[in-house]
């Protein structure tokens, strides 16, 4: 177990290096002028004759490894370049928007885990029964509706027709409060900050704006978790130890909820973790539809406006989060499965 964690930790820098290399490799398609924004921190540097000097300085016309080395050095120092689409340093954009995305995904994953696992257990217990079949079809429907269709339909109904759930992150008046001096942004997650500031109206307003994106994001994930839980639950229910548990005279409720579910939860936890990471990618569509200012909508916007440094920066952050997230998931898995933990 310890050696497993050490091995994973040792691999981490290698993977991170490979990741940045891979990202940067794709910039080979760009001209030095296009790439330059990824190196500068201030747009005033990009004026007139200075451009050629900078291209020379960073070796943008030289071989790939020189360019990559210079870029990597900047990244490590926290300089992700200048975002042409938002006219701000990329790192600042990410710093502002990442908490917003995190807030959204955390709210989205919690119901997914609850509902997905619960329904998966129900489906497995009624294996091939009516409930199982209905859940199967509903789950497949979940797989089959793409995020942009579902999001638009939700927007259509709850905003277009009913006017209940507006896009964006906050109403105008709430924005005024949040960006005023008296409102401390402790975490960047507005619902939490609002509570910490004791401002209930802002909290409710932020929550109201979160509902539609949460619905969109979570609908696409709970189906997957349902299927995984169902199949690992079915597998668990077919094991010998379930027969033993029944032979002990335990009630069916205990057999299912204690003996089978604990085993089924091990793979389900892993999947839930990966789902959370996947959701961070899934927010690109959702945030764009609902005009939610997170890194997802930023990546789409940056891509559309040829903001190369913005896209590069977001990609690095996404890769970082994914790799570390996967590591945490793997370690958690090892921790909750006694066979691995002690092996």
């Amino acid at each position: 177990m310890i050696s497993f964690i050490i091995r994973r930790l040792l691999l981490l820098p290698v993977t991170l290096l490979g990741l940045t290399f891979l990202i940067f490799f794709f910039t080979s398609f760009l001209s030095p002028y296009q790439l330059l924004s990824a190196y500068v921190q201030d747009p005033r540097q990009l004026q007139g004759a200075n451009v050629e000097k900078l291209i020379e300085k960073y070796g943008l016309k030289k071989n790939f490894m020189v360019k990559y080395g210079n870029w990597l050095e900047k990244i490590v120092r926290g300089n992700f370049g200048w975002s042409l689409s938002l006219n701000e340093p990329v790192i600042k954009v990410i710093g502002q928007r990442f908490p917003a995305t995190l807030e959204l995904t955390i709210y989205a994953i919690v119901p997914v885990i609850w509902i997905g696992i619960w329904l998966g257990v129900v489906a497995a217990v009624h294996h091939n029964g009516v409930i199982d079949q209905i859940l199967r079809v509903v789950a497949l429907l979940g797989y089959s509706i793409p995020a942009f269709v579902l999001g638009l339909l939700i927007l259509f109904i709850f905003y277009g027709v009913l006017g209940w759930l507006p896009p964006g992150r906050l109403d105008q008046w709430a924005q005024m409060i949040v960006y005023s001096k008296n409102f401390h942004q402790y975490t960047g997650m507005i619902t939490i900050d609002a509570l910490l500031n004791g401002n209930i109206p802002v909290f409710l307003d932020a929550l109201k704006h979160l509902i539609a994106p949460i619905l969109t994001l979570s609908y696409l994930s709970w189906a997957g978790l349902l299927r995984i839980t169902r199949s690992s639950m079915l597998e668990a229910l077919g094991q010998d130890y379930i027969r033993t548990a029944r032979a002990k005279g335990l009630s069916e409720r205990v057999v299912v909820n204690k003996h089978a579910r604990r085993n089924a939860l091990i793979p389900a936890t892993t999947v839930a973790g990966m789902m959370f990471i996947g959701m961070l990618g899934g927010v690109i569509i959702t945030e764009t539809i609902f005009n939610y200012p997170g890194i997802g909508s930023f990546s789409a916007q940056a891509a559309e406006q040829f903001d190369y440094s913005g896209v590069l920066g977001v990609a690095v952050i996404y890769g970082l989060v994914t790799i570390i997230g996967n590591l945490i998931v793997d370690i958690t898995y090892a921790l909750i499965d006694p066979r691995v933990r002690l092996g």
């Binding site: 199967r136 027709v161 006017g163 996967n326």
Partner: protein
């Protein structure tokens, strides 16, 4: 072959898998018959949706445009019919290439083992370290938008699943001594692949392909929706949906219900198409995945 017949028989026993099969066949038929169902006005550029006028306001279904038109007067019916072809084109191209790369990487990795395996799997991990859509967006940004670029971007970030799957089955086959015997006798690699490895992994691949035939076009459609995919006017479901955005939320004034057709028909096409493949893939999994056979 016998196995296929048996699988088919089992598929025909279950109403949901029959539904999946029928939906898939329906879309295959639409794709094949596209030139008949929606005759292209300019045969050289059939994927370009014809425009019936220039008004920016969508027009409701009429005798001429049975599903109505989008903003800019693109015929929705035409877009859906030819969009089916776009979906199949994308699916077949991307999955085909991803499968080839996966076969290559997976086989080499498992066959040689040792550090070759270690390196290839770490590289695979790095590709997997991106959320799929993020990876694709990076490439499309660098290459510039366009359907071809989208296809390549999808391939580059989609082969890993197949590589892992195939690596797994090769490792399984490797245990069988007859392959070892075959290698000792100098059986060429290609023959080992077609004789031993493919038959062993054909069913998991089949399940995966079936699911991916839904995923890939859907992802491409999502990119079009974001404005990163097909060029304006190209017959593509994602683009049709994106045309509806401004009209179905009342911000542009008036009753959003008035423009229901701009979202309903393209969405329905996408959902039914994905539904068909997913039902099929799911039924195959039920039949073929031994874990499910309790």
């Amino acid at each position: 072959m016998e196995g296929f017949v048996k699988v088919l028989k089992k598929l025909m026993r279950n109403p949901t898998s029959i539904a999946g099969l029928l939906l898939v066949l329906l879309f295959v038929a639409i794709a094949i018959l596209a030139p008949v169902l929606a005759k292209p006005p300019y045969p050289d550029t059939p994927y370009q949706m014809p425009q019936n006028g220039w008004s920016s306001v969508p027009q409701p279904p009429s005798h001429e445009d049975i599903f109505g038109t989008t903003e800019g007067q693109y015929d929705i019916y035409y877009g859906i019919i030819w969009g089916t072809r776009t979906a199949f084109k994308l699916g077949i191209f991307v999955i085909g290439l991803a499968l080839i790369i996966g076969l290559f990487v997976g086989t080499i990795s498992a066959y040689f083992g040792g550090w070759v395996d270690e390196v290839l799997m770490r590289v695979t991990d790095i590709f997997l370290a991106f959320p799929f859509l993020v990876g694709v967006i990076v490439i499309v940004t660098m290459l510039g938008p366009g359907l071809n670029h989208v296809m390549w971007a999808l391939v580059i970030f989609y082969w890993m699943g197949y590589a892992r799957l195939i690596r797994g089955s090769v490792l399984e086959v490797k245990e069988n001594d007859y392959v070892m015997a075959g290698r000792a006798l100098g059986t060429p690699g290609a023959r080992i692949i077609t004789r031993h490895i493919l038959p062993n992994s054909i069913y998991p691949i089949l399940i995966q392909v079936s699911m991916d035939m839904a995923t890939i076009p859907l992802t491409a459609a999502a990119l079009s929706f974001l404005g990163l995919g097909a060029p304006v006017g190209y017959a593509d479901w994602g683009q049709l949906v994106s045309f509806s955005r401004n009209w179905i939320i009342s911000s542009s004034g008036g009753n959003p219900f008035a423009y229901w057709y701009t979202i309903t028909y393209p969405s329905l096409a996408i959902i039914l198409y994905a539904m068909g493949w997913n039902l099929l893939g799911d039924s195959l999994r039920d039949i073929l995945d031994p874990r499910m056979l309790i």
